[in-house]
């Protein structure tokens, strides 16, 4: 009995930290519509700051609590800095570019932390006065866990009062609905945004600092906590603070007890809860209506036009270059080209889903990595030859995409995006934890092409045929009735329903197509590398694809290809430098500030006249 109570309280205390992070994320999203990927980084910085402050502050017993509070405040100030210097410039850009900017921040903060705090995992100090345990019916519970539970409840109460009983709270809630109107009513929304950003970042920093005695500080905290925080926000309902608390509680408790039944199930558990809740209540426990929708930016909605003669010529020239490449390029360039082609196919399939489909995926790596694993497993367990593996792996991923898509198309906007992340995370944890079948962390090795294709140049041509073919098929799809229908679904769900179109069915098939082509890319990838590791399915990989699409810009059909080429070129250029993440992140941030429509969008803007047909006036 005592054991169960202690287990319950442990779950509750685990929930507390998660709640603080999620609560800040939710507040910021509600007011500014920014899905702040870097929120987890604030949490990490909070933990590091507290660690060092506790060591330095000469306040005796008080220094622990003072350090935690000060860390929160410093992180809040960092939040202000980020908001004022970076995000303010991006409020008028499409939301996807904000995502890219905040992702750049993750990389920058990651490397800055490595530089400032070192890359060793730090063990948290104990809380003076609360370092003992209490005995609950024979089982021990750390006193600090109880303190965390109480602190989280107090903060929940404080925020609720702040939002519902103060003028500031009313303005924040009003801004959540209609910012422009609020400005016309005399409210300085810029100041309001900054204040909300401060509060949200403060809560994240506080959360990180508070969990220090329980979990310490390390460089993986940012991505680990952000996935959890997303889940909490989505399960609780965007913008609902009470919902965030209950969702954190639900996840904390189910993990605490889930561990007893299936020790390795924690990760899967969290995402399963999310999937189940969203299927029953698409907008989360306390979510109301469509507040999580992405509004499609009108600027991105000019009618598409078939390629002009000049663009076709340019494409032909590029194709020729690709074909002749082995004549003059070295092995290294060929390898690079192979990688670009593979990733271009994969991001083209993501583009198909995001651009014409209007569905944003945070978990595209599940299809790419899925393809790689499907092929590798076929080879490893069944000795399947490469040709068959390349045929069956995409089909298997297409099937997987049908399963995932069946759930996802019930939702839309940010909710859909987060559900894709959840499914990707489930598949990743299965691959990671089921070592007997998948090789776990060690991956699967020695997956080589058949003999005839093992020559570098032959493999080069094989890759180019499959990838360029795939890209052209996806491009063609955009111009077919299916592609048009998909865009129609994106433009107006109301209208497609009233002309007899089954929106969900078309979106569902889009998932399958996306899965198939990303799976194809993944299966070629595994043969080009000879091995596969769980990283190919992990969150950072998904973000890579998102970045490639965004880098190219989602207005132009050529965007994904240009984006992947730029991404890989950049990556290759700087990944040998010591703090390359810092540089890469800064480049992303620079790019979103300088080219808010993506590279291809920028080129189109600048040189569009050269390549456009001018059928009609452009929007």
């Amino acid at each position: 009995m005592g054991f169960l109570i202690v287990q319950f309280l442990t779950g509750l205390s685990d929930a507390s930290g998660l709640f603080l992070v999620a609560c800040g994320l939710s507040l910021i999203f509600g007011v500014s519509r920014i899905v702040n990927f870097a929120h987890g980084s604030f949490y990490m910085v909070g933990a590091y700051l507290a660690y060092y402050l506790i060591g330095y502050l000469p306040l005796g017993g008080l220094s622990f609590w003072a350090s935690i509070l000060i860390s929160g405040l410093i992180v809040g100030l960092i939040g202000i800095l980020v908001e004022v210097l970076l995000l303010k410039r991006l409020y008028r850009s499409p939301e996807l570019f904000l995502l890219m900017g905040t992702f750049g921040l993750i990389l920058v903060i990651q490397d800055l932390s490595r530089w400032l705090f070192g890359s060793e995992d730090l063990l948290g100090p104990r809380c003076p006065g609360l370092d003992g345990s209490i005995d609950i019916l024979g089982t021990l519970l750390p006193q600090y866990d109880l303190a965390l539970i109480i602190i989280a409840l107090l903060i929940l109460l404080a925020i609720w009062l702040l939002l519902n009983r103060t003028r500031w709270g009313i303005l924040v809630r009003a801004a959540t609905e209609d910012r422009e109107m609020l400005a016309a009513l005399g409210v300085n929304q810029s100041l309001l945004f900054t204040s909300v950003f401060f509060l949200g970042s403060f809560l994240a920093g506080l959360g990180g600092a508070l969990q220090l005695p329980k979990g310490g500080a390390d460089l993986l905290m940012d991505l680990n906590v952000i996935a959890g925080a997303f889940v909490v926000v989505v399960v609780g309902g965007m913008g609902s603070i009470l919902g965030a608390y209950l969702a954190a509680l639900l996840i904390g408790e189910l993990s605490a007890f889930g561990v007893l039944v299936l020790p390795q199930s924690t990760l899967v558990m969290m995402f399963l809860i999310m999937a189940v809740v969203l299927i029953i209540r698409p907008y989360g426990l306390f979510g109301k209506g469509k507040s999580g929708e992405y509004e499609y930016d009108e600027k991105t909605s000019a009618p598409i036009q078939p390629a002009s003669e000049r663009l076709k010529l340019a494409g032909l020239g590029l194709l020729l270059l690709v074909l002749l490449m082995p004549l003059f390029a070295g092995d290294f360039q060929l390898v690079l080209m192979i990688e670009i082609a593979i990733l271009a196919l994969s991001s083209m399939s993501l583009y198909f889903m995001m651009g014409p489909g209007g569905m944003i995926s945070f978990g595209h790596a599940v299809f790419f990595g899925g393809g790689a694993y499907a092929a590798a497993l076929l080879v490893h367990h069944l000795n399947t030859p490469m040709e068959l593996a390349l045929f069956f792996a995409p089909l298997l991923v297409g099937l997987l995409a049908l399963i995932i898509g069946w759930f996802c198309v019930r939702l839309s906007g940010v909710y859909l995006a987060m559900l894709t992340l959840a499914f990707a995370q489930i598949c990743w944890s299965i691959v990671f934890q089921w070592s007997a079948f998948t090789g776990g962390d060690d991956g699967l090795l020695s997956i080589w092409p058949s003999d005839w294709a093992s020559n570098r140049i032959v493999f080069y041509y094989l890759t180019m045929t499959l990838c360029i073919g795939g890209i052209l098929i996806l491009r063609h799809l955009v111009f077919t009735p299916f592609g048009y229908t998909l865009r129609a679904c994106r433009d107006s769900a109301l209208r497609v329903d009233s002309i007899g179109i089954n929106l969900k069915r078309h979106q569902w098939f889009t998932f399958a197509l996306t899965g198939f082509f990303a799976g194809l890319a993944g299966s070629i990838y595994v043969f080009s590398k000879g091995s596969v590791f769980p990283d190919e399915m992990a969150i950072p990989r998904s973000f890579d694809f998102l970045l490639m699409v965004l880098l190219g810009g989602i207005e132009a059909l050529s965007g994904p290809v240009i984006g992947s080429a730029a991404f890989i070129w950049l990556h290759d250029l700087i990944s040998r430098i010591h703090f390359w993440q810092l540089i890469l992140g800064s480049i992303f941030i620079f790019l979103v500030v300088a080219f808010p429509r993506g590279i291809a969008g920028f080129l189109d803007n600048r040189f569009g006249r050269i390549f456009s047909n001018h059928i009609g006036p452009r929007a």
Binding site: A174, E177, E180, L182, L185, G186, V187
Partner: protein
């Protein structure tokens, strides 16, 4: 009081307003009449800097408000109630009013919710209801009441009568006249000449983004109206 001079505004590459010039005196009710797409909403949004103008001059109480942030324009005493109402649907009526509240102005008795409930009796009984549950007419009234909470000296109403039942139109027209009696100038847009005649002192006719005609409402002939406002 409000003077707009040679205003040019673009949406993207399309020019909407062409050298638009007009003025509203203190204590007047002025109508901006024109058909849909003539540029009425854009005029208002440009004045409030919600759609920044490309060139021109806008002054309010002899001070330039051109390209001032919207919230500062509001603080100068120029209130704006948009055509699509845009009340905060998840806030209660009282909270909506609070969101519009601004510090009192010198020489000006600040509005209180109670006074506004006298002006708009329908809202009084629903003060603790969420804005989203109100009917269209009530939402329109809340929009105006909310703007009044900012104690404006002049209020801009974009098509306040659009979509209201004939009975409600009458009621709202009476209320707007009362506002004038309390010293608030009103600048509103309308498509229908008959409705404008009910309450306005003076009218501008806007067509294709510029002012084509200006006269007191009594002398505005139907011909003038027909010429620009009927399609």
């Amino acid at each position: 009081m409000l003077a707009v001079n040679s205003l040019n505004t673009f949406y993207g590459k399309a020019q909407i307003l062409f050298n638009l010039t007009l003025a509203v005196q203190a204590g007047e009710i002025v109508a901006l009449i024109g058909r849909n797409g003539a540029g009425k909403t854009t005029t208002f949004k440009s004045i409030m800097n919600l759609v920044p103008a490309e060139s021109g001059k806008i002054s309010f109480k002899h001070q330039s408000i051109y390209h001032l942030p919207s919230y500062k324009i509001c603080k100068q005493g120029l209130g704006y109630a948009p055509e699509d109402r845009r009340i905060f649907t998840k806030l209660t009526v009282m909270e909506n009013l609070e969101a519009g509240k601004q510090p009192p102005r010198r020489d000006f008795k600040p509005w209180t919710p109670e006074q506004l409930f006298e002006l708009f009796p329908n809202l009084a009984e629903k003060r603790h209801q969420d804005g989203g549950t109100l009917s269209g007419g009530e939402q329109q009234m809340l929009t105006i009441a909310r703007t009044l909470m900012g104690n404006p000296e002049m209020i801009i109403l974009d098509e306040p009568f659009e979509g209201l039942a004939p009975m409600i139109v009458k009621q709202l027209a009476r209320t707007i006249r009362k506002l004038k009696d309390q010293g608030v100038s009103v600048f509103l847009s309308e498509q229908n000449l008959n409705v404008a005649r009910l309450i306005c002192d003076r009218a501008y006719i806007i067509h294709r983004g510029s002012i084509r005609h200006e006269s007191p409402i009594d002398t505005l002939s139907s011909d003038q109206y027909e010429k620009y406002c009927s399609v």
